[in-house]
């Protein structure tokens, strides 16, 4: 019995990191109303940035946040500004441009393969980092320390983003645009700047997720692919645009994975996750906390 509890808790911890990864996706969707297929690649970029930051500066992985967050924010900001904005301008009438899905997939291909070209296919990891393999014993259960830190990082980031959107002027401007972009622009809010900010924030969140993963996860060019689909599933489960939903959805997936692998092959847990995804898509597409959109 104790082992199941341990699996559940570790699943929650890992799942919260999934949720952190999906946080950016849900924010971007909530504001821009588009699904960013390149999100996994952004996570991958975050992981590489964190990795190189640690290797080159010798910083503690978590201190690398100081470098990763601004770099990722700017990366996302300009990605939106240069690559995705033109499409928004071209398809003004359409609220959910399919073209953006396609373009972000193109970005995914480019980023993943560029990093393959530049960094090579080898798996990298931070061998000597102070957190690797560290376990914490709590009541007879062994919990993974980096995942525990990741859990806290996820909660903190989610809370910070929530506060930003509720309390700051810029945050409220972003929310206004997400509700009605025309009304917001009539109020003097530059919708394209809002989009840039939202994507910047979402990408920075992915960067934080990357930093959380780097102490114990392998880093390689296609690592993003694993997370990409997982993030979509989480975001649909939790509700597109919902911060709490992303965390909760992530935890559900984490628990399924950790508990599931005790009873069946890893790939069957994959099938269960897909099945759950489809069930939600058909029965409750707005997810657990999401707003119902006119889909």
């Amino acid at each position: 019995m104790q082992f199941i509890l341990e699996d559940i808790i570790n699943g929650i911890l890992m799942g919260s990191i999934y949720g952190l990864a999906a946080l950016g996706l849900t924010v971007i969707f909530g504001v821009l109303k588009v699904i960013n297929f390149a999100h996994g690649s952004l996570l991958m970029v975050g992981m590489y940035v964190a990795y190189w930051a640690v290797i080159l500066t010798g910083l503690h992985p978590y201190l690398a946040l100081v470098i990763v967050v601004p770099v990722m924010f700017l990366f996302g900001y300009f990605l939106q500004d240069i690559v995705i904005k033109p499409i928004f301008k071209a398809e003004k009438a359409v609220r959910e441009p399919i073209t953006v899905i396609i373009v972000t997939t193109g970005v995914w291909y480019i980023l993943d393969n560029l990093s393959l070209l530049v960094f090579g296919p080898q798996y990298r990891n931070l061998q000597d980092n102070p957190l690797r393999g560290k376990m914490l014993e709590v009541g007879g259960m062994l919990l993974s320390v980096p995942r525990l830190w990741g859990f806290f990082a996820a909660l903190l980031t989610a809370f910070a983003i929530y506060l930003f959107f509720q309390k700051t002027r810029t945050g409220r401007a972003i929310r206004a645009t997400s509700i009605d972009r025309e009304a917001a622009s009539l109020q003097g809010i530059n919708q394209y700047k809002v989009y840039n900010l939202a994507v910047g924030i979402g990408t920075a969140a992915a960067g934080i997720a990357g930093v959380s993963l780097v102490p114990f996860y392998n880093i390689f060019p296609s690592v993003g692919v694993l997370f990409d689909i997982k993030c979509f599933i989480i975001v649909v489960l939790g509700g597109l645009g919902s911060i709490a939903g992303a965390l909760l959805g992530g935890m559900i997936i984490g628990v399924i994975e950790y508990v599931g692998t005790q009873f069946m092959a890893a790939t069957w847990t994959e099938a269960i996750v897909y099945g759950l995804f489809l069930v939600f898509l058909f029965l409750k597409p707005s997810g657990l906390f999401g707003v119902k959109y006119e889909w």
């Binding site: 588009v34 699904i35 690559v83 033109p86 499409i87 071209a90 398809e91 959910e96 399919i98 073209t99 899905i101 396609i102 373009v103 997939t105 193109g106 970005v107 995914w108 291909y109 480019i110 993943d112 393969n113 560029l114 393959l116 070209l117 296919p121 060019p221 689909i229 979509f232 599933i233 649909v236 092959a265 790939t267 069957w268 994959e270 099938a271 897909y274 099945g275 995804f277 489809l278 898509l281 058909f282 597409p285 889909w295």
Partner: protein, 334 residues
């Protein structure tokens, strides 16, 4: 020069060239590339029936390729049934699965539909990867199935050289192009276009949009499965990652999109432009610059979607028309 001559001329020319190509191209490698080119042109044109005409973005068509490949292979390996018959059965199976997938998903729009098709395709792939035996049927999980090259001949859909495969896929491609053309002019074609552009208006005009989309989906998946059988017989080895992977689904969709979905020539054009890039860059740069072809692919995708969202066939058709106008003068009938 008559108007029809200008329209049909290049088609006839292309047809003649295609028929004669194997005589000029002797290298097996290049014939292989050509076969793949036609295969993808076939796949994208079949995809176009749903993705182009019906106006949705299905990103899980590899499932149908897999169904076709596995059905005909299992039937021929375990029960000695000719792959041609297996192809038909695979097509019917795929059509049924396609309708099952379509029923709940066509109600969704945009990204949700795309995600649902991905989930279905990946779910099917994961299941096939996990199952070694489904009752009496051997699927062999991730190891896949190998077809021993024993009995060659038309009846067994197996040949020692590449040429017969070349002509078969060329024939299939011509068939599917003709079918697309016929549908585009038919009631179903009009209904699909209407349902894709303005579903409410279409419904008010007597179009059962959901049913039209399902019919298109059934046709598309039926035809796509044929490609799976062809692939199995051509490469003699199938496994989930080779016939059912997400990469294939994406490549099909994106080639069609770059070429121009919704048009007849678009998907073929896309395949003509992009497949050589993929294959040639893999041959020449594969070792030194891995993944380069996908970078090029991604860049093309992004640029085309920003500047020519309707696909490259639009500017190319316009260019062709203005060139022929300059060369042969105005040919509009009175």
């Amino acid at each position: 020069m008559g108007r029809n001559t200008i329209r049909i001329g290049p088609l006839v020319l292309a047809g003649v060239i295609a028929l004669g190509l194997p005589l000029a191209v002797r290298s097996a490698t290049y014939l292989h590339i050509l076969v793949l080119l036609y295969l993808y042109a076939y796949l994208t044109t079949s995809w176009n029936l749903v993705g182009g005409f019906a106006g949705v973005l299905p990103l899980g068509h590899s499932a149908f390729v897999g169904i076709g490949a596995y059905t005909s292979t299992v039937l021929s390996l375990q029960y000695g049934i000719s792959p041609w018959i297996g192809m038909m059965i695979g097509g019917i199976l795929a059509a049924i699965v396609g309708v099952i997938i379509g029923l709940p998903t066509f109600k969704m729009r945009g990204a949700y539909f795309a995600l649902a098709t991905i989930a279905f395709a990946e779910g099917i792939r994961v299941m096939v990867e996990n199952i070694d035996n489904l009752g009496p049927i051997r699927l062999n999980g991730p190891r896949g199935l190998q077809i021993p090259p024993l009995n060659t001949g038309l009846l067994n859909f197996m040949f020692a050289t590449k040429e017969p495969y070349y002509y078969i896929i060329l024939f299939m491609l011509a068939g599917v192009l003709f079918l697309t053309y016929a549908i585009s002019r038919s009631k179903l074609g009009h209904y699909l276009v209407a349902g894709g552009e303005e579903p409410e208006a279409a419904m008010a005009l007597g179009v059962n949009v959901a049913r039209a989309k399902l019919i298109a989906m059934a046709m598309s998946s039926f035809l796509t499965a044929f490609a799976g059988t062809f692939w199995a017989q051509f490469t003699l080895y199938i496994h989930p990652k080779s016939v059912m992977s997400l990469d294939i689904s994406f490549e099909i969709a994106f080639i069609a999109l770059i070429g121009g979905r919704g048009s007849i020539a678009g998907p073929v054009l896309g395949a003509l432009l992009l497949r050589p890039v993929t294959d040639l860059s893999r041959i020449y740069f594969g070792g030194k610059l891995p993944g380069l072809h996908l970078i090029i692919f991604g860049v093309v995708l992004v640029l085309v979607m920003i500047y020519q969202p309707r696909g490259l066939q639009e500017p190319l058709t316009r260019a062709y028309r203005s060139v022929t106008k300059k060369l042969f003068g105005h040919t509009e009938a009175a």
